[in-house]
């Protein structure tokens, strides 16, 4: 008698809610939201999913601005210069067409955002103000003080809410579903209710952001666990340039709770200087011409070198000083930095120097996409924003990520919408759906390895062995740890049920985090040179034979890597870009 209710209960729990849509968008940061708007405006029904609450995505953390060659401040700026800066910063392995589209279309996307209601800072003439940023030839970053990301998110959120776009927040997608070759849906767990959803869609856009949380010291928010990388990889999509992880030169070092939190490049853009514990402006040695505003990899490695040489601050950083600009200027231009240091560290940056050190910031690599439509190699699957690759090559310019999410977010919405008009909804076996639901449920209410412990070991391993300067020995060690953790993760389980169980969520995130980590390490081992963000102490020079992309794909017996030629740049674009020097 007593067994029957349990069985009944199980059948009830196995149920799921079915939801049909033309375009399904996984991720509601800047790219996902911008994609939702364009897919909807192209006449498709749109469903937007987000792991966090609506409007909380990692985009809100973006501070400095959107790179767009409006030429409002420096009239000599043009798309050509922006294009050339992007290609050079990417150390010649970027997809030229993506860089071209970005440079040409970013100004329109910025003006469109303004027409959606965003209010940018202004020049005396009343046009959009632009600030200097590292390795940009001209002052190019359109900004809203130092809270540009928040303005983007709230503006796009407003547009989403006033369109008939269905959204589910606190929804975690555990698997993409395929009908034959084509991706045609997804299974999600609604975190705040514990209910399962089956999404059936004609096209799917992945816009889940990066994987920064696989590192211990990172500027990335809670969400950035590489979820979309894992989903796409398992569905057969190619990844590219995964070994390229950007370290931002300036993250907070104190107090421990905010270690890694970003200190915007805007501080240096507005005149901030870097000093070591001896009070020396050390960038004079590393980059006498561009100084603090050289490319991020160069400034980050300089900071790292000073700290390693024993010229660091009490909390293990270097000093960033902007006090010479005066209190009024700082509070006006960098209001949230002022507040951030005052609130968290008890430091008044108008009077005292900040302590900063490199922090993991961005993945240049990700899902390989077609520049025009952001389609992946899997039919029906699209990707845009940080989770996609190609635009930034071996290193990303500051401000190009916000331009990226707007330009390619729109393109993926358009691309997925057009695709959705050529197909009908797919078919799946209900047993496949049930099997996935059972898998998720089996992780709950049981004893197993604590998923947080696996996550913490992974973070430590990545920070210790796959950091800002890499070498073969440490990378091999890292790979072994990752493969061991992959085994451990098979036994991960948590107490508690399906509803708002963050331990369960961590268990679900682990496979994607491990896939991202494995790709980074395998790629870093394969790339026996130093290029852009990827620096090897055992191969400190750039190698012309490796001016190629590394492609990662799921094979029958594990991850497969292959070198692939960078798309050949047409002559009329080639002459704009400075020649590569070895």
């Amino acid at each position: 008698m007593s067994e029957q209710p349990i069985e009944l209960d199980e059948i009830m729990n196995a149920q799921f809610i079915k939801h049909e849509t033309d375009v399904l968008i996984i991720g509601a940061g800047g790219a996902g939201m911008r994609a939702a708007i364009s897919a909807f405006d192209s006449g498709s029904s749109v469903t937007l999913l987000s792991k966090s609450l609506l409007g909380k995505a990692h985009t809100v953390m973006a501070e400095g601005g959107i790179a767009a060659a409006l030429a409002n401040v420096d009239s000599k700026d043009s798309w050509e210069t922006h294009f050339a800066d992007t290609m050079e910063e990417g150390v010649y392995i970027s997809n030229y067409r993506m860089a071209e589209l970005l440079a040409k279309e970013a100004p329109d996307r910025v003006r469109e955002l303004e027409e959606y209601g965003a209010l940018f800072d202004r020049t005396p003439e009343g046009t959009i103000m632009q600030r200097a940023f590292g390795a940009h030839t001209y002052r190019r970053l359109c900004h809203v003080g130092d809270r540009t990301g928040l303005e983007i998110i709230k503006t796009l959120e407003d547009q989403i809410l006033h369109r008939d776009i269905k959204f589910f927040d606190e929804m975690y997608v555990t698997k993409l579903l395929k009908d034959g070759n084509r991706v045609a849906g997804a299974i999600g767990l609604k975190l705040n209710t514990g209910e399962f959803y089956l999404f059936m869609s004609k096209a799917v856009i992945i816009a889940t952001g990066g994987c920064g949380r696989i590192y211990k010291v990172t500027s990335n928010s809670w969400e950035s666990t590489g979820d979309g990388l894992g989903l796409a990889y398992e569905a057969g999509a190619e990844l590219m340039d995964m070994e390229m992880i950007q370290f931002h030169p300036t993250g907070m070092v104190y107090p421990p709770g905010v270690k890694g939190l970003l200190v915007t490049e805007g501080v240096r853009g507005e005149g901030g200087i870097l000093l070591n514990s001896k009070g020396e402006r050390f960038m004079q040695q590393y980059s006498p011409k561009k100084m603090e505003l050289d490319a991020r990899d160069i400034v980050a490695r300089a900071n790292y070198a000073e700290i390693m040489a024993g010229r660091g601050t009490p909390h293990g950083g270097v000093y960033l000083d902007i006090t010479h600009k005066g209190s009024d200027f700082i509070k006006k231009k960098l209001p949230s930095m002022y507040k951030q240091f005052l609130d968290f560290a008890g430091v008044d940056i108008t009077k005292e120097k900040m302590e900063v050190a490199p922090t993991v910031h961005y993945q240049m690599g990700g899902i390989k996409v077609d520049p025009e439509t952001t389609a992946t190699n899997v039919p029906g699957l699209f990707a845009s924003g940080e989770v996609a690759s190609g635009l930034h090559g071996a290193n990303r310019l500051g401000g190009n990520s916000l331009a990226d999410i707007l330009v390619f977010g729109k393109r993926s919405g358009d691309g997925a919408s057009s695709f959705s008009k050529t197909v009908s909804l797919g078919n799946f076996a209900e047993s496949d759906v049930i099997r996935e639901i059972e898998r998720v449920k089996s992780l709950t209410n049981s004893n197993g390895t604590n998923p947080y412990d696996i996550g913490a070991s992974l973070e430590e391993n990545m920070s210790d062995n796959v950091g800002i300067i890499r070498n073969e020995e440490a990378l091999k060690k890292a790979l072994k740890v990752i493969l061991d953790l992959k085994e451990d993760s098979k036994t991960a389980a948590v107490q508690g049920g399906l509803k708002y169980n963050k331990g369960l969520l961590q268990a679900l995130e682990l496979p994607s985090m491990l896939t991202a980590s494995e790709a980074i390490v395998r790629g870093a081992l394969q790339r026996k040179e130093s290029r852009g963000a990827h620096a090897r102490s055992d191969f400190p020079k750039k190698n012309p034979d490796m001016r190629k992309n590394i492609i990662y794909k799921k094979g029958e017996d594990g991850m497969k890597l292959e070198w692939r030629e960078v798309p050949k740049i047409p002559d009329e674009l080639k002459k704009i870009v400075p020649q590569e020097v070895y």
Partner: protein
């Protein structure tokens, strides 16, 4: 080891009629905030405790709760700033409980949908020209991170069932109304349909705002006054009636 005692409200409304406070001892760390302590509990002491957080940097507004009875962001509340022998962490009382300290704030999206959207003047020459002075007023309201602490502290929302949308939504309306190129006036809507009249200006919302927006002085009072001016201003009434006559003619 030096520890901090944290007393956390626990309840799953699906299975428990009443909640209880459970005490945890968390190792004290230099510069620690309440969210650090809560993360420690989640990871090491009781993974079944539900906790919502995202940026942990005061930029996203996810980790709202009542800390020692005061609506606060967990990520911005320093442990060493709190008095007493233990820290009490409870969910926001103005919202339906999901579990433990996590609440359902989704009604706010439904309210935001109702506020008329940004509607710029038509036929403006592009690119738009706006002076820096004119964006400053709206800019204050655009700092809002939607943590909904102002909604939580508002006694109109907590204690009375009215149609008042709440402070966050007045701030939203004000940010649009004060956009230099917007053509609508939302104050009438806010007073008639969004229950702004129920607000009796106790300023509690301004006190809890982590972004230090002067919600009452700069958003609520102007929105109240402008509605009054439109409804009772004799000159405005005259102009309106003339406009209506012209429209008829």
């Amino acid at each position: 080891m030096d520890t901090v005692k944290v007393s956390v409200f626990r309840r799953d409304p699906a299975v428990e009629k009443e909640g209880k406070y459970v005490d945890y001892d968390v190792p004290r760390e230099d510069g620690m905030v309440v969210l650090d302590a809560m993360k420690y509990i989640e990871r090491h002491l009781d993974p079944s405790m539900s906790l919502r957080w995202n940026c942990s940097a005061g930029k996203c507004g996810s980790c709202s709760a009542e800390i020692n009875h005061k609506p606060s962001l967990m990520c911005k509340t320093r442990v060493d700033s709190l008095k007493g022998d233990k820290i009490k962490v409870a969910p926001m009382a103005a919202f339906p409980l999901i579990k433990d300290v996590v609440t359902d704030v989704s009604e706010n999206w439904a309210l935001l949908k109702k506020i008329p959207k940004f509607t710029p003047k038509e036929g403006l020459e592009k690119p738009w020209r706006i002076s820096q002075v004119d964006i400053e007023r709206s800019k204050e309201f655009k700092k809002c991170i939607e943590c909904f602490l102002c909604q939580d502290v508002c006694h109109v929302i907590r204690d009375h069932s009215t149609d008042y949308f709440g402070p966050r939504h007045v701030v939203k309306a004000a940010s649009l109304d004060m956009h230099p190129l917007d053509t609508l006036n939302r104050s009438e809507f806010m007073n008639k349909d969004a229950g702004l009249g129920y607000c009796n200006i106790t300023k509690c919302c301004s006190e809890v705002c982590p972004e230090e927006i002067h919600i009452t002085d700069n958003a609520i009072i102007p929105e109240k006054e402008r509605a009054v001016n439109i409804s009772y201003d004799p000159i405005a009434m005259f102009l309106r009636s003339r406009k209506q006559r012209r429209a008829k003619a």
